[in-house]
């Protein structure tokens, strides 16, 4: 499992081209954010052109990984050693971040052009923060020591909070401040855990820690602190209460990036630390799995009761994270047969990727619908199927992935997870997966029920900026494609190198 996370030994030292590409991939988004804040681009072509070098860097890294396998770097700065590495999950998450970041950036000019004067003034900060966020996320995917992870995680949390505060409305401010408070508590817990680990074993390098850590009270306390902090930030059930208010008033690209990537960053770190510090804590992982069962049902019920469209989308994240929690016991069980282990591992990442793509698309489609109708509630959607077919189609395609209907990443992931669970005769998680499918369908089709209503009175519709609806459709379609052509990305998870 260590090697799968990219915490083993690398065979080859990275070439200079890969060094440069890594630097570009991490630093460039922040610089582009700065540039965006300065120039405030209006034309999508400009945004696309500016993002090309970062995408190219991502491609170079992927090719290097495919050719040489695991890539590792060690940096020294002021007597501290920093570890970076690119393994299978890292490269996939990096690519995902770049693509979704680009989608959000392309969506931004249209959104700002439709906003009021206040929004246009704050647009400057949106560009800046978005760039910083993407840089920090990229760093999280490649960082392999606790200190750098702390730094990047802090940066992610603070930029995310700042972005959520941007709308400046009371509701957004209250939710944002609550999020800030919780994020700080989470960070504090995390920092205490790091201090404990450093004091006990004198290293922060994950790979080294994995070899020297011994079970005992210290590791348990450290793991509890780290785990609680990260679970809070990842909005894992039952620590999810802050999530929905935050999304209810946030701007669309912010919601999209937050649900798709920011909470996944904490989850990714959590998984790594778990495997490093307490790989034998089977009991705990079963507890997480059990909480996942509840999360699937509870999140589904919350989404079902939701009155506002964006709340529905936000609550569905709670349930979808529950699917990932269901897999924890399988990921951590070393006695699993090789095939089931691989299926669980692949299913986990596929579910994560599929959810990221679908959630981005769904938030954008919901944002478009809210923007065009001026209504935030589900009931306000009446008649939209006739006037906003494309946004609704996007919502539908994205929900295929969320429900887990074929052909989508959600379906293929469910298929793999079901096979792994059947192998272990885990009937409760199987029931949760299947119930989750129906619950998701139940709350998703509420949206369509309202939108297909033809008896609604005529409403005034504000036109969207060109491209906003098509941009939302792209990640939704990618979620479908990922389900059918899952083989290629999943091969990367097995460790590159030829």
């Amino acid at each position: 499992m260590m090697t799968r996370l990219g915490l083993g030994e690398a065979t080859f030292a990275p070439l200079p081209a890969a060094d440069l590409a890594l630097l570009v991939a991490i630093v460039l988004p922040a610089l582009l954010g700065l540039l965006g804040a300065w120039l405030q681009p209006r034309r999508l072509v400009m945004v696309l052109l500016a993002a090309l070098p970062a995408l190219a860097a991502g491609v170079v890294l992927m090719l290097a990984y495919i050719d040489y396998g695991l890539l590792r770097w060690q940096l020294e700065w002021g007597g501290l050693f920093f570890q970076l590495r690119i393994g299978g999950p890292s490269i996939l998450l990096l690519t995902l971040t770049q693509l979704l970041g680009l989608t959000a950036a392309l969506y931004t000019p249209g959104l700002l052009s439709r906003g009021d004067g206040y929004m246009r003034r704050m647009g400057r900060y949106l560009w800046l923060l978005m760039g910083l966020l993407l840089s920090a996320l990229s760093l999280i995917w490649v960082a392999a020591d606790l200190l750098m992870l702390y730094f990047a995680l802090e940066l992610v949390s603070l930029t995310a909070v700042a972005m959520l505060l941007l709308p400046g409305k009371t509701k957004a401010l209250v939710a944002g401040m609550r999020y800030l408070l919780l994020a700080l508590v989470g960070s504090l817990a995390y920092l205490l855990g790091v201090a404990l680990v450093l004091g006990q074993w004198g290293t922060l390098d994950l790979a080294k820690l994995a070899q020297v850590v011994e079970p005992g009270p210290v590791v348990w306390v450290a793991a509890a602190l780290l785990g609680a902090g990260l679970a809070l930030k990842a909005a894992l059930f039952p620590l999810h209460a802050w999530l929905e208010p935050v999304h209810a008033s946030a701007w669309t690209p912010v919601s999209a990036l937050h649900a798709a990537l920011v909470i996944k960053a904490s989850l990714f770190i959590l998984l790594q630390l778990w495997l490093v510090l307490v790989p034998d804590a089977l009991f705990l992982s079963r507890l997480v799995g059990l909480l996942g069962v509840i999360a699937v049902v509870w999140g589904g019920l919350l989404a079902w009761r939701a009155v506002e469209l964006k709340s529905l989308v936000a609550f569905s994240t709670v349930a979808q994270l529950g699917y990932l929690m269901l897999v924890f016991p399988l990921l951590l069980d070393t006695s699993l047969p090789a095939l089931a282990k691989t299926q669980a591992w692949e299913g986990f990442w596929l579910q994560l990727g599929g959810h990221a793509l679908a959630k981005t698309a769904m938030f954008m489609a919901a944002g478009n619908l809210v923007l065009a109708t001026g209504e935030t509630t589900l009931a306000g959607l009446a008649g939209t199927s006739r006037r906003m077919p494309l946004s609704l189609l996007t919502f539908g395609v994205a929900s295929v992935t969320l429900i887990g209907l074929p052909p989508s990443a959600g379906f293929t992931a469910k298929w793999l997870l079901l096979q792994a669970m059947l192998d272990q005769q885990l009937w409760l998680p199987i029931a949760a997966l299947l119930t989750g499918t129906l619950l998701t369908a139940t709350y998703i089709f509420r949206v369509f029920r309202y939108s297909f209503d033809e008896t609604a009175p005529q409403q005034q519709y504000r036109p969207l900026a060109p491209g906003m609806d098509v941009l939302a459709l792209l990640p939704a379609l990618a979620g479908l494609g990922l389900g059918l052509f899952a083989h290629a990305p999943l091969v990367l998870l097995q460790g590159g190198g030829q």
């Binding site: 199927s385 077919p389 209907l405 052909p407 469910k414 096979q419 297909f452 033809e454 059918l484 899952a486």
Partner: protein, 501 residues
């Protein structure tokens, strides 16, 4: 030589048509109509080419790996091409009909877009080469028919849509569990593999039965078998072409076709017989046949009567499949086509009466034969076929079913057949009597509920000709049953492959 692009292109024709239609503006009806018809013709041609190649011994396969042990496979085989042929032929007719039916109504773009996706799913179901691929298109069918069912956007339509989804999605979950369990047990299970599941019989007998129950249980919801049929009569609120498609080609047929696949191509008929599941299925199908007919008798409106008749008629397919022996199998496969042709005719007629004269209730049909002779003729053909009168297609099926029952040693099935035919006569003959022998508004007694003069003929040509065509096909399928390439001949060919290795 493998031409894997052929099944892919047949699938792509309607898929692409759907996608392009979504891009067209709402009022570009000429372009949309030509696109629809062009795609339907292309697909019919492609199916013809595949049929020709199959005759010459080529099984075209298209496949790629999805994950680990799972492949996406499109494969042309005897059974699949039957269903693909039916769907592409009736797609053409139904498209023509729908163009006429929906003229000037709102949301035509959405309708035709999802209509094409629905047909694409049906083609995918027909050509799927393994259960995984089958499942993909089976669920796609559920999703693409939902917007068609709720098309009118009324509260009743939306409720029907909700009930439809509740049934079909729950069934999809059950089916998924069954398929995953089967894959866990056996690995990849292609429909084409000669090795059945016999060698699992010793160790996993109970598990095989459980999986069979899950698979067929999931499929029988779409096949509308009692007591899982509740969605079908409600889905009647959809426009007539949708009902025609739902009942004759797409949804209920997909369920029945899936059951055929499971029995013949996954388990194998010998193993199914050995496990004892076919006897159970035969009883369930018989109950459905009688219950559907009884409920049909009780209906006062035309479309619900036809809906219950579908519930009854589709189970003939399941009944045929559960009779062990080649004759029962022939009956099942022939009925897959015959029921489609006759049922589509009946629904077209119901739509014609509703559009031209505003007739929805059966007692409003008095004397309609004089006002709309051609439509009423087509209706008569369909109704007599359903009852099983020669020389219409339905007779062939019932004949083979009866012989199959004798062959399988289940003579009680003949009792079911006789009783069901009697019930068919009870609910169809009064309609025919009203059409032809009662005096109504056409003879100067009262008025039609809501009369329009849609065309120079008795109704719009778009509505009339597809109806006549499918009625003609129903007669020809029965008359020429002995000729090569007739449904019966083709079914016999499939059966030869199944029983003579």
């Amino acid at each position: 030589m493998n031409a894997g692009w052929l099944p892919l292109a047949a699938l792509g024709a309607s898929l692409l048509a759907g996608v392009v239609i979504f891009q067209l503006p709402e009022n570009a009806w000429r372009l949309r109509a030509s696109l629809n018809l062009g795609a339907a013709l292309i697909k019919l041609t492609l199916v013809g080419v595949m049929l020709f190649r199959l005759e010459n011994g080529y099984n075209d396969v298209f496949s790629f790996q999805v994950v680990g042990n799972v492949d996406f496979v499109l494969r042309v085989d005897d059974l699949g091409i039957m269903f693909a042929g039916l769907s592409s032929l009736l797609w053409l007719c139904t498209t023509l009909y729908a163009i006429g039916y929906l003229e000037d109504s709102p949301n035509r773009k959405r309708f035709f877009g999802f209509f094409s996706l629905c047909v694409a799913s049906t083609t995918g179901i027909a050509l799927a080469g393994n259960l995984f691929t089958f499942l993909i298109f089976y669920e796609m069918l559920t999703l693409s028919t939902y917007p068609l069912v709720v098309h009118r956007g009324t509260a009743k339509a939306l409720d029907a849509g909700r009930v439809y989804l509740r049934y079909t999605l729950s069934a999809g979950v059950v089916l998924l569990l069954g398929v995953v369990m089967l894959y866990s047990l056996t690995g990849e299970q292609s429909f084409a593999s000669q090795r059945g599941l016999e060698h699992y019989l010793e160790d996993h007998r109970a598990l095989l039965i459980v999986i069979f129950a899950l698979l067929v249980g999931g499929l029988s919801v779409k096949a509308a078998m009692v007591p899982l049929h509740g969605w079908l009569p409600r889905a009647m609120v959809a426009p007539a072409p949708v009902s025609a498609l739902l009942h004759a080609v797409a949804v209920v047929k997909a369920g029945a076709f899936g059951i055929l696949r499971v029995i013949y191509d996954v388990y194998g008929i010998e193993l199914s017989y050995e496990l004892g599941v076919t006897a159970f299925l035969a009883v369930a199908a018989s109950i459905t046949i009688l219950y559907g007919s009884l409920r049909a008798v009780a209906q006062q409106e035309l479309k619900p009567r036809l809906a219950y008749s579908t519930i009854s008629q589709v189970s003939y397919i399941v009944l045929g499949a559960s009779l062990f022996g080649p004759l029962g199998t022939i009956a099942a496969m022939t009925h897959l086509l015959h029921q489609g042709l006759m049922k589509v005719t009946l629904f077209f007629c119901a739509g014609n009466y509703a559009e031209e004269l505003g007739i929805h209730r059966i007692d409003e049909l008095d004397g309609a034969g004089r006002r709309m002779p051609l439509t009423s003729l087509a209706f008569t053909v369909g109704a007599l076929g359903m009852i099983g009168l020669p020389p219409i297609a339905g007779f062939v099926t019932k004949w083979y079913l009866g012989m199959g029952a004798v062959q399988a040693g289940m003579p009680w099935v003949i009792g079911v057949l006789v009783l069901s035919s009697l019930l068919n006569a009870i609910y169809f003959l009064p309609i025919l009597h009203r059409l032809w022998f009662r005096f109504g508004p056409a003879h100067g007694h009262g008025d039609w509920p809501d009369e329009h003069r849609l065309g120079r003929l008795e109704t719009s040509a778009w509505l009339l000709w597809p109806t006549m065509a499918t009625a003609l096909f129903s007669v020809l399928a029965g008359l020429l049953a002995g000729m090569p390439m007739s449904p019966l001949d083709w079914a016999s060919q499939v059966v030869r492959g199944e029983y003579l290795p």
